[in-house]
C-alpha cells in the first residue's frame, strides 16, 4: 500500500491503546469460562471422519490435475512441447509458464509455482495437465516434451556462498555489504543487529568459547498434503477450496497471478491437516485455477507425499559461528554470532529472524549478530514455526551450556543471571516489555525433573528460547441468534483448536455457557481481510476481535433492554449473561437474559450482532525453557529421549489443553529436528529421502510423555493477558537435546541432526583424541 506523503498532518489517535486492548486484571481474576477445558466444536466431526479436509471436496464434473516436475536441480528450459499431451483423449487442459503473465508483485511466487526460464530445483513445476482421470493425466505428463539444458547445481549453504558456486539468479546482487558487489551471487543479503562494543566485551571476559554449528533443512511434516479444488466460470467468477493457513492471502495472490478481480475469487478454507507455517503460501492453487479456467471445469490437485517434500516449502538449513564471553562469576560480557541460512531457490531464508532471536534470552551490553540469506537449488522455503529461531538459538544455547560447565555454574543460574526481562534492551533492538523468561527459568529450577537422578549414559540438557509473536489484520462477526445461541465467524483457519478458544472468549464476555456458542471459519466473501494463521497470532488477534464483537453485541443488548424497560441505555449493565438495571436508581426490573433479548430482537429493532475489524497491536513476546533427559547408546550412537518438560509463558491459557498441546507438539517437532529429520541431498542435487520412511519424523514409540508447565505472565496488550504460544515451543528443543546428548556422550555435538552415525563418530573421535 502506498503512503500519501501529503498527508503528514493526519489525525493522531488520542489514546495509544483502546480500552479493550489493555489487560483487565479485575476481569482476569474472576474468569468463569476462560481457563476451562471444554470439547472443541469441530471435535465430533474429526473423530468420526466427517470433517472435510483439502482433498475431501468433490465438485461436479471435476477433473484430475497433475503437475510435471523438473528431474534436474538446475536447468535452462529451452522449450516445452505439450502438443501430444493436449491431443490425448481425456486431456482437457495443459498449462505451462506461457499461461501466466509476468507479475511484479509476486514474481518469486509465480516463478516458484511454474518454472520460467530455468528449473531451479528438483521438483520445480514445469507444466500441468487436467484430465478426466488420474491414469489419463499420468499418461499425458509423460507425453510432454521438455528440452532442458542442464546446469551445475549447489545445495549446501557454505558452497553456495563460495565465489566459484553456480549462480542461480543473474539479478541477485548482495544487499547490505559495502562497497556493493558488482557481480551477481547466491547471497541475497547480509544484515546486522546488536548494540554495544563486542570487542570491549570480549576483553572483559574470563572465558570465551567460539564454535561452529550446522543444521540440516527440515520439513513441517504436516500429515495432510496440499490439496485444492478450483472452479473458474466463463465470466471469471471463481471459487477455490483449499487447505491453507490463510485463505485471504491465497485469494490476493491467486487473483493477482491469474489477473482477476479479488471480488470474483471466493476462497473457502477447508479443515486443515497441519501447517506449521508450510501452508502460509501458495503452490498448487494458482495452477489449479489456471487449469480450470482453460478447461472450463473444476480441477482438483492433491500433492503426493513425494511432491510435498520436493516442492512445498521446507525450512532453511544453516551454518553458524557463535562466540560468547563470560566472567568467572557468570556475567556474559559479549555475544557474537554469524548465521548463514539457505532458503532454497529464492530470496527469503529467515536468517534475519535467526539473528534477531539468537541472543533474545539475554540482556547483554555487547551483542552483534550477522545474517546471510543465501539461495541454493532447493525448493523455496516457507515459514516453519518460529522461522529462523530454532537454529540460531541452538548455536547460542549450546555455547552458553558449555560456558556454564567451564565456569562451574548451574546452567539455569547462568541464564537467570543474564536473563532478558522487562526494560532490558533486546539483542534485536527494542527494549522488552513485560515478559516471563525469569519465571520459566525459576519454574524449571523448581521442577522435580531438574533435580531427578540420572542413570548411566544419560545426560540432562536445558535451554531457553523466544519468539516475537505478532497481531495483524483481523476481523470477526458475531451473531446473536433468536434462540439465545451465538454464532461467531472468524477469518483465521483453525489449525489447533482455535475455534474452541473463540467460543470460550465469547462465552466469557457474553456470560453464557460455552456450548451456546459456535465458531466457524468464514470464507473470503463473508468477512474483511484477515492475515494468515501464523506468528502465534490467532488466539491473540482473532480472540480480541471476538471479545470486542461480543462487547458490541452486549452494548446493543443493553440498549434493547433499556428500550423495553424505558430507561436510558446507560442505566443498564450486563452481568452473568443478563441485562440488569445498573442500580436502585435505574428502576426495579427483573434481569433480561441474552436468550430473552434475542427472542424479541425482531420486534426491538432487528437482529443483534457485533463485529470488529482492526489491525491487532500489542502482541506479547513468549519465552520458554525446556528440560530434557537423553540416553545415548555408546556402542551405536542411538539417542533416546527419556524425559521431557516444557515450561513456557502463555500470558493466559484460554483453553489449557490446547496450550499444552502446542507446547507438546513444538517439543516433538524439535526432537525430530534434533535427532533424525533432515533433507538429504545426493551429489546429483536430488533429494534422497522424499518420504516419511526415510525422513524419519518421531513416531509414538520414540517419545515419552511430555510434561508441561504453563507460566502465566499476562500480556498487557490483551484484555485477558494472552500471548501467542504456537511457536516458542520449537525454539529450545534443538539446544536442550544437544546439551543433553553432549552431556551423555561426553562430547559436544555441533551438527544437527544428531543421527546415530554422527553421534557414534563423535564419541569414537573423542576417544581417539583422548588417547
Amino acid at each position: 500500500m502506498a503512503r500519501n506523503p501529503d498527508a503528514d498532518n493526519a489525525p493522531v489517535k488520542k489514546e495509544i491503546e483502546s480500552p479493550t486492548s489493555k489487560y483487565d486484571a479485575e476481569k482476569a481474576s474472576s474468569f468463569k469460562v476462560v481457563g476451562s477445558r471444554p470439547a472443541r466444536p469441530d471435535g465430533m466431526d474429526k473423530v468420526t471422519g466427517r470433517a472435510r479436509f483439502g482433498a475431501d471436496m468433490v465438485m461436479p464434473g471435476q477433473l484430475v490435475g497433475l503437475i510435471l516436475r523438473s528431474p534436474h536441480p538446475h536447468a535452462v528450459i529451452k522449450s516445452i512441447d505439450s502438443s501430444e499431451a493436449e491431443a490425448l483423449s481425456g486431456v482437457k487442459a495443459v498449462v505451462t509458464r506461457d499461461d501466466f503473465a509476468p507479475n511484479d508483485d509476486h514474481a518469486d511466487v509465480l516463478y516458484n509455482i511454474m518454472a520460467r526460464e530455468k528449473a531451479l530445483y528438483e521438483g520445480h513445476a514445469v507444466a500441468a495437465v487436467a484430465a478426466t482421470s488420474r491414469p489419463v493425466a499420468r499418461k499425458a505428463l509423460k507425453l510432454i516434451k521438455i528440452d532442458y539444458d542442464i546446469l551445475p547445481h549447489v545445495t549446501d549453504v557454505d558452497e553456495a556462498m563460495s565465489p566459484n558456486a553456480p549462480v542461480l539468479h543473474d539479478d541477485i546482487i548482495t544487499k547490505g555489504v559495502n562497497p556493493a558487489p558488482t557481480k551477481p551471487s547466491n547471497v541475497v543479503a547480509r544484515s546486522e543487529f546488536g548494540h554495544g562494543d563486542i570487542d570491549a566485551g570480549f576483553a572483559q571476559a574470563d572465558e570465551i568459547i567460539e564454535r561452529s554449528f550446522k543444521t540440516a533443512a527440515t520439513h513441517q511434516g504436516y500429515i495432510e498434503p496440499h490439496a485444492c479444488v478450483a472452479n473458474v466460470g466463463a465470466d471469471g467468477m471463481s471459487e477455490l477450496w483449499c487447505c491453507t493457513q490463510g485463505h485471504f492471502h491465497v485469494r490476493q495472490v491467486c487473483a493477482s497471478l491469474l489477473g482477476i478481480d479479488v471480488s470474483r475469487l471466493r476462497v473457502t478454507a477447508s479443515e486443515i491437516g497441519g501447517g506449521f507455517g508450510g501452508k502460509t503460501t501458495v503452490f498448487i492453487e494458482p495452477v489449479a485455477l489456471a487449469l480450470s479456467r482453460k478447461a472450463g471445469r473444476p480441477v482438483k490437485i492433491a500433492m503426493t507425499r513425494d511432491e510435498v517434500f520436493k516442492a512445498s516449502g521446507p525450512t532453511a538449513s544453516s551454518s553458524m559461528n557463535v562466540k560468547i564471553g563470560v566472567t568467572k562469576d557468570g556475567r556474559i560480557t559479549a555475544g557474537y554470532g554469524e548465521f548463514r541460512y539457505q532458503g532454497g531457490a529464492f530470496a527469503g531464508a529467515p536468517a534475519d529472524f535467526g539473528a534477531m532471536s539468537a541472543f533474545a534470552c539475554y540482556a547483554l551490553d555487547n551483542v552483534k549478530t550477522e545474517a546471510y540469506d543465501v539461495v541454493t537449488n532447493r525448493p523455496k522455503g516457507a515459514a516453519y514455526r518460529a522461522p529462523g529461531a530454532p537454529m540460531s538459538v541452538y548455536a547460542v544455547e549450546s555455547v552458553v551450556d558449555e560456558l556454564a560447565a567451564r565456569i562451574g555454574m548451574d546452567p539455569i543460574d547462568l541464564r537467570l543471571k543474564n536473563a532478558a526481562k522487562e526494560g532490558a534492551r533486546s539483542s534485536y533492538g527494542p527494549k522488552f516489555g513485560s515478559c516471563g523468561l525469569v519465571e520459566t527459568l525459576e519454574a524449571a529450577k523448581a521442577h522435580p525433573h531438574y533435580s531427578a537422578s540420572l542413570g548411566p549414559n544419560q545426560g540432562r540438557g536445558i535451554a531457553s528460547g523466544f519468539w516475537f509473536n505478532f497481531g495483524g489484520e483481523t476481523c470477526s462477526n458475531l451473531n446473536i441468534n433468536a434462540d439465545g445461541t451465538v454464532t461467531i465467524a472468524v477469518g483465521t483457519p483453525d489449525i489447533g483448536g482455535s475455534r474452541a478458544s473463540m467460543c470460550i472468549m465469547a462465552a466469557e464476555e457474553l456470560g453464557i455457557p460455552y456450548d451456546k456458542v459456535r465458531a466457524i471459519v468464514a470464507d473470503t466473501s463473508a468477512l474483511g481481510y484477515n492475515d494468515t494463521t501464523e506468528g502465534s497470532r490467532v488466539t491473540f488477534s482473532s480472540g480480541m476481535a471476538v471479545i470486542k464483537a461480543s462487547q458490541q453485541a452486549v452494548t446493543e443488548m443493553c440498549k434493547r433492554a433499556a428500550m423495553m424497560w424505558d430507561i436510558p441505555a446507560e442505566a443498564v449493565t450486563w452481568e452473568d449473561g443478563c441485562a440488569k438495571p445498573s442500580g436502585p436508581n435505574a428502576g426495579d426490573f427483573e434481569p433480561l437474559s441474552l436468550a430473552e433479548i434475542a427472542a424479541t430482537a425482531g420486534k426491538t429493532g432487528g437482529p443483534i450482532a457485533g463485529h470488529h475489524e482492526y489491525n491487532a497491536d500489542g502482541a506479547g513476546v513468549s519465552f520458554g525453557t525446556h528440560i530434557v533427559d537423553t540416553e545415548v547408546d555408546p556402542e551405536t550412537g542411538k539417542v533416546d529421549i527419556i524425559r521431557y518438560t516444557v515450561i513456557q509463558d502463555a500470558g493466559k491459557a484460554i483453553h489449557p489443553d490446547y496450550v499444552e498441546g502446542q507446547f507438546q507438539g513444538g517439543a516433538a517437532q524439535g526432537i525430530g529436528w534434533a535427532l533424525n529429520e533432515e533433507y538429504i541431498y545426493g551429489d546429483d542435487g536430488k533429494l534422497q529421502n522424499a518420504g516419511f520412511l526415510d525422513y524419519r519424523m518421531p513416531v509414538a514409540s520414540d517419545l515419552p510423555m511430555i510434561d508441561t508447565v504453563i507460566v502465566e505472565v499476562p500480556n498487557p496488550g490483551h484484555p485477558y493477558g494472552v500471548r501467542g504460544v504456537g511457536e516458542t515451543g520449537i525454539v529450545p528443543p534443538l539446544a536442550a537435546i544437544a546439551n543433553g546428548v553432549s552431556a551423555a556422550a561426553g562430547v559436544r555435538m555441533t551438527e544437527l541432526p544428531m543421527s546415530p552415525p554422527r553421534v557414534l563418530k563423535a564419541i569414537d573421535d573423542a576417544k581417539v583424541a583422548a588417547e
Partner: protein
C-alpha cells in the same frame, strides 16, 4: 493391467509362466503397491495368491512349521508354537513396518523382493529356513540364503513362485534372536540387521551356530566365520568379541542416506554380540522349560 486370483499354486505358476509382459505376485502387497504408485513398476499381470489355501496356512510338520508364503506377519506372530520355536525369526518378521503393515506383509514377500535390508531374512538364514518353490517344472526346495541375488533380483526363474517356507524342529537347548539397528524405534528400514541361531549341548557348549547379516552388502549374508567363533565355546565374552570382529569383517556396505560404511561395519559387530547373548539366554530358558514350545 490384469488382476488374477487363482485357487491353486499350480494355477498361479501357470499364469506367471504364461504372461508375456511383466507379471508380479501379490501377497501382502506392501512393497508392490508402493512401487506401482510411484511408477517404479507397471505390471501387466498381478497374481493375487491370498486365495490359495496352501499359501495362507501355518502347518506343523516333523516338529517344525511350514508357513504359507501369503501368511501375514501379524498372523505368524499370533502363533504360539512358532513364536516359541523360532522367536528370532518371528521378531524379524514382526519388525517389518507398522502394525498396519504387519497385517498384510509376508516374510516371503520380504525375501522375494530381495532387499538387502529385509528384516525377516537374516533370521531365516540363521535358522536355515527352506523355501518350497513351485514352477512350470514342479516343486523344488531351496535354502533361503540362495534366493536373493541382488536388490530386486532372485534365483527364481520365470513362472516360479515360493509356496511356503519351512522352519525345522530344534533340539532342546537352542535359541535364536534377531536385532536390527534403526535410528528411530519403529518404521525404519534396517541400517544393519543380524540374526543368530545357536544350539548348545548339556554343558552349555555351542554345537551349532548360524549368523545371518543384513543391510551391509548387496544381499543378506551368511557369516560363517562368526558361526565358527561361537561353535565349541560357551558363548563367553572372548567368543563374542570374535563374533563381533568376524561379523564386522564380513560387511561390504555402502554409504547412503541410512548410514555410513564405518557406522554399519561397527554396529554389525555390536548387534551380532547382542543378538548372540539373547539367543543364548533363550536357549538356556528353553532348556530349563524342558524344551517346551
Amino acid at each position: 493391467m490384469r488382476y488374477e486370483s487363482p485357487q491353486t499354486v499350480e494355477a498361479a505358476a501357470a499364469l506367471l509362466a504364461g504372461e508375456e509382459g511383466l507379471a508380479r505376485v501379490l501377497a501382502g502387497g506392501t512393497d508392490l503397491l508402493v512401487q506401482m504408485r510411484s511408477g517404479m513398476v507397471e505390471p501387466d499381470l498381478i497374481v493375487d495368491v491370498k486365495n490359495i489355501p496352501s499359501m495362507t496356512s501355518i502347518v506343523e510338520e516333523n516338529g517344525g512349521y511350514r508357513i504359507g508364503a501369503a501368511v501375514p506377519s501379524a498372523e505368524m506372530n499370533e502363533h504360539k508354537g512358532l513364536c516359541a520355536l523360532w522367536p528370532g525369526v518371528m521378531e524379524g518378521a514382526d519388525l517389518i513396518g507398522s502394525t498396519q503393515v504387519q497385517g498384510r506383509a509376508t516374510m516371503i514377500g520380504n525375501l522375494c523382493n530381495c532387499g538387502p535390508a529385509a528384516d525377516s531374512v537374516p533370521g531365516m538364514v540363521a535358522a536355515n529356513a527352506i523355501a518350497t518353490i513351485v514352477g512350470p517344472n514342479g516343486r523344488r526346495d531351496v535354502p533361503v540364503i540362495d534366493i536373493p541375488v541382488a536388490p530386486g533380483k532372485s534365483t527364481l526363474t520365470k513362472g516360479e513362485l515360493v509356496e511356503s517356507v519351512f522352519l525345522p524342529a530344534r533340539p532342546k537347548r537352542a535359541g535364536d534372536a534377531y536385532l536390527r539397528f534403526i535410528p528411530r524405534t519403529e518404521m525404519d528400514i534396517a541400517v544393519v540387521g543380524v540374526g543368530v541361531s545357536l544350539e548348545l549341548d548339556g554343558d552349555g557348549v555351542c554345537t551349532h551356530a548360524r549368523v545371518g547379516l543384513g543391510a551391509v552388502a548387496i544381499k543378506v549374508l551368511l557369516v560363517e566365520d562368526a558361526a565358527k567363533a561361537l561353535i565349541g565355546t560357551k558363548v563367553d565374552d572372548a567368543a563374542l568379541e570374535k563374533v563381533a570382529a568376524a561379523t564386522s569383517a564380513a560387511c561390504k556396505p555402502i554409504d547412503d542416506k541410512r548410514g555410513t560404511i564405518e557406522f554399519r561395519t561397527k554396529v554389525a559387530g555390536v548387534l551380532a554380540t547382542r543378538a548372540a547373548k539373547i539367543a543364548l539366554e533363550r536357549a538356556n530358558a528353553r532348556a530349563s522349560n524342558g524344551g517346551e514350545k
